[in-house]
């Protein structure tokens, strides 16, 4: 599956493109793609494999879509949760294939994380808002530094060499900003959940 809603997955059996069912499915995917992707991303620490797993998940969802529609009472509302269950198994099988790689969680960790992540599925927007609020609180220059190391192809080492800073020092600065941000988001979420 592709993360762009306007690009139908290449490998999905074409059937009849005009088939309503297929159109519904694509629409559902488009709406819930982000949530499922975030769920998968959380289980794959480096982000490697997210696209593979998403594609596998989409295919599998399409294969089982009929059965899902038959049992679901509220298709749109239950889609994310259902897709995440599939994504969880796809992640596990991806992990099994790559278990010898360095940064792949073992199965038991994926299981535990998936369980925790499922409980948070509904809080995606709330979390996004918390992150944005906290980012806004950072002074502009610090936010820029933080974002700059997240740019594609960019790295702390490169910025360090461009600015004549020691990479290790810069790295620890970025690291401290991330932790600051994390603490802010955590406390914001905590206070929100304790106030209902």
């Amino acid at each position: 599956m592709n993360s762009r809603p306007d690009a139908p997955p290449d490998d999905v059996p074409p059937d009849d493109p005009l088939d309503d069912r297929y159109a519904d499915f694509v629409g559902l995917l488009a709406r819930h793609d982000q949530a499922v992707r975030r769920f998968v991303r959380a289980l794959l620490p480096t982000g490697d494999g997210v696209d593979d797993v998403m594609q596998e998940t989409a295919l599998e969802c399409w294969r089982k879509y009929d059965r899902f529609c038959d049992t679901a009472t509220e298709v749109d509302g239950e889609f994310t949760r259902w897709a995440c269950v599939i994504a969880r198994y796809k992640t596990l099988s991806w992990q099994r294939d790559r278990a010898r790689d360095r940064l792949v969680f073992r199965e038991s960790v994926i299981e535990q994380l998936a369980a925790s992540a499922e409980l948070r599925l509904d809080r995606g927007d709330q979390e996004r808002e918390a992150i944005e609020r906290c980012l806004d609180q950072l002074p502009a220059d610090q936010r820029r530094l933080l974002l700059s190391v997240h740019s594609p192809g960019e790295s702390v080492a490169r910025i360090a060499s461009e600015t004549g800073q020691r990479a290790r020092k810069l790295y620890s600065v970025v690291q401290s900003l991330r932790k600051l941000l994390l603490r802010c988001v955590e406390s914001r979420l905590a206070s929100e959940s304790s106030h209902g």
């Binding site: 994380l113 974002l147 740019s151 461009e162 600015t163 932790k179």
Partner: protein, 585 residues
């Protein structure tokens, strides 16, 4: 721990995590729901940052608008501008300078909180901190706690290799042998210090002395007598005195500085004397030159300490200290509160120098043979904290351990030991761990961040622990602030944990100073303390069905460990440290 978790999470997301840390993270994620929540939030943040960096390069945010950094051009992020320089250089330099001030403060706070002697005596550091502006980041969020640098920094120009009979000025707790010396003033009233500069030059300085360490390559002397030994690699090493520079050409020279006179003599080789008002002059073996004052005020250099003298004086002083310590042990072991006093030395038990006794750590309490510790696995006998004439035990190889058994029921604990740490290799590094860690049993260890951890099991029923893991049991780790970092290798530390249920307090000490003090909450209160089978330097019987962190051998040495059935007070701890400290402390 929380800080480490965050560090490791971000390192993982950044792919810079070590295998050991990644495994540690997996264990945390598997057992600790709070850790999972933190991880999930961090992933979300990281993803959000990725997305923002790509989606909105340079897009001004509301808070960027008027007032905030008017002159700065928005950062061109991403590769939209034809791959040109991504970051406007001056903006970033400003940011970094700003935040480094923050990192510096935290670093300062850490090193000065901890009793590690690494960065003592640095004048400039204090000044720098006093004039640093308040960092922005710390005021950005209400939480405000600015835990920053994760790296271990060792800053300095020289090490104090040997220190003999040194008297430090009042109000200054002084330096230890092996300490790294930063730039700033070094002052002592008497005794001899041997200072190795990182460039390779060595100064043997006799007190009273006052000098300013300027860099790896230079020092200024205001007062004192010294001998400088400069090997060829350190050619160019400079000593300043009385407005002149003595630039060494690879040699040995002596210098004496008093309030009215300064005299230099070349003992071997050649030096160059430079000053602002006279032309440079060369000085060769045997030649003497007054930088200030005259012949009448200068003394003879013949009695100046040599390297051999330092060596000999040190050896004698060490033998004296060892003898004092052994006498002290004889008194100590009469203390009725002592449960056990393990020593690597067989004090007063020389008769049993059989092979068997080589496999014992001697318990000086009770009848001989009873309750001695047994060396198991690759424990090695090495020099103890009083040098070659004393003995210590090395636990650096996995599986090295001393097994002990202590029956009975106790009302309080004081654990005290002398340990030398070569590295904190494991998540938990053992000092003294009860086998099963069952109800009322103690665990005493050091974590990877250099903090002391003391804990007593409250409820060993699986599933009672915090975090809801089916194997988790109920206890609390009492942690100190960090006391050890890489610069402290080769140094002996006196470590103490006092567990005091009647007064509901856990107090921990390093070298006589308090590094942690925490109230025992009612839910963690344990009245009946036990030890049973236990190990020094390792953990014999980890939790059942839980293989994690089972490798806990201390990468280091222990030469003495005492256990009291009482809560010793701060004065008693200070006295234990003073009586037991090795030479050069």
């Amino acid at each position: 721990m929380a800080d480490r978790l965050k560090n490791v999470i971000f390192q993982t997301l950044q792919r810079t995590v070590s295998r050991a840390d990644f495994d540690w993270l997996q264990d945390r994620l598997e057992t600790d729901d709070a850790a999972r929540q933190t991880y999930l939030t961090a992933v979300h943040i990281s993803e959000h940052l990725d997305q923002q960096a790509v989606d909105a390069p340079g897009k001004p945010r509301p808070s960027d608008a008027p007032g905030a950094d008017v002159m700065s051009t928005p950062l061109a992020i991403g590769r939209h501008a034809g791959g040109s320089t991504l970051v406007s250089r001056w903006v970033l330099v400003g940011v970094v300078a700003n935040i480094i001030a923050l990192a510096g403060i935290t670093w300062y706070a850490r090193t000065h909180d901890a009793p590690s002697r690494t960065e003592r005596g640095s004048v400039s550091l204090d000044d720098a901190v006093a004039t640093s502006p308040a960092p922005d980041a710390s005021s950005s969020f209400a939480a405000g706690d600015t835990d920053t640098t994760t790296e271990r920094l060792i800053a300095g120009h020289a090490t104090l290799r040997r220190a003999i009979d040194i008297r430090w000025p009042k109000g200054n707790s002084g330096l230890h042998e092996g300490d790294v010396l930063t730039n700033g003033t070094l002052r002592f009233d008497s005794g001899v210090a041997e200072i190795d500069f990182f460039c390779g030059a060595t100064l043997i300085v006799e007190g009273p002395a006052e000098l300013n360490l300027e860099s790896d390559w230079s020092a200024e002397v205001f007062l004192g007598r010294l001998r400088a030994n400069v090997p060829p690699v350190a050619r160019g090493f400079t000593v300043k005195a009385a407005d002149a520079q003595i630039v060494d050409q690879g040699t040995e020279f002596a210098l004496q500085v008093t309030p009215d006179a300064a005299c230099v003599e070349v003992l071997r080789g050649q030096v160059e004397i430079r000053s602002t008002d006279t032309p440079a002059r060369q000085l060769r073996t045997g030649q003497r030159h007054w930088l200030k004052g005259s012949a009448s005020s200068a003394s003879d250099f013949h009695d100046l300490a040599t390297n051999d003298d330092v060596q000999r004086r040190r050896h004698n002083a060490q033998s004296d200290r060892l003898a004092d310590w052994q006498n002290h042990i004889r008194q100590l072991r009469r203390d009725e509160r002592l449960i056990a006093l393990y020593t690597a030395d067989a004090i007063d038990r020389f008769a049993e120098s059989s092979d068997d006794s080589l496999r014992l750590m001697f318990n000086q309490v009770g009848a001989p043979d009873e309750r001695d510790g047994v060396l198991v696995g690759p424990v090695e006998r090495v020099s103890g904290r009083f040098g070659n004439e004393s003995e210590g035990l090395d636990f650096s190889r996995t599986g090295a351990r001393v097994r002990t058994r202590t029956d009975g029921q106790y009302g309080a604990f004081t654990f005290a030991c002398w340990a030398r740490i070569d590295g904190l290799d494991h998540v938990y590094n053992a000092l003294f761990l009860a086998d099963g860690y069952e109800n009322g049993e103690p665990h005493w260890q050091i974590d990877q961040d250099g903090r002391l951890l003391f804990s007593v099991m409250v409820d060993d029923t699986p599933g009672t622990g915090l975090g809801g893991h089916p194997q988790a049991r109920f206890h609390h780790l009492y942690k100190t602030r960090p006391f050890w970092n890489d610069s402290n290798r080769n140094q002996w530390f006196h470590l103490v944990a006092v567990y005091d249920p009647p007064n509901r307090r856990v107090t921990q000490y390093v070298n006589g100073d308090i590094v942690g003090d925490e109230v025992i909450q009612p839910k963690f209160h344990v009245q009946d303390l036990r030890i049973g089978p236990a190990e020094i330097g390792n953990w014999g019987q980890p939790l059942r069905n839980s293989p994690w962190f089972a490798v806990r051998n201390l990468n280091g040495q222990i030469d003495e460990l005492a256990i009291y059935d009482a809560a010793l007070d701060a004065n008693e701890i200070q006295s234990l440290y003073q009586q037991g400290k090795p030479l050069g402390y």
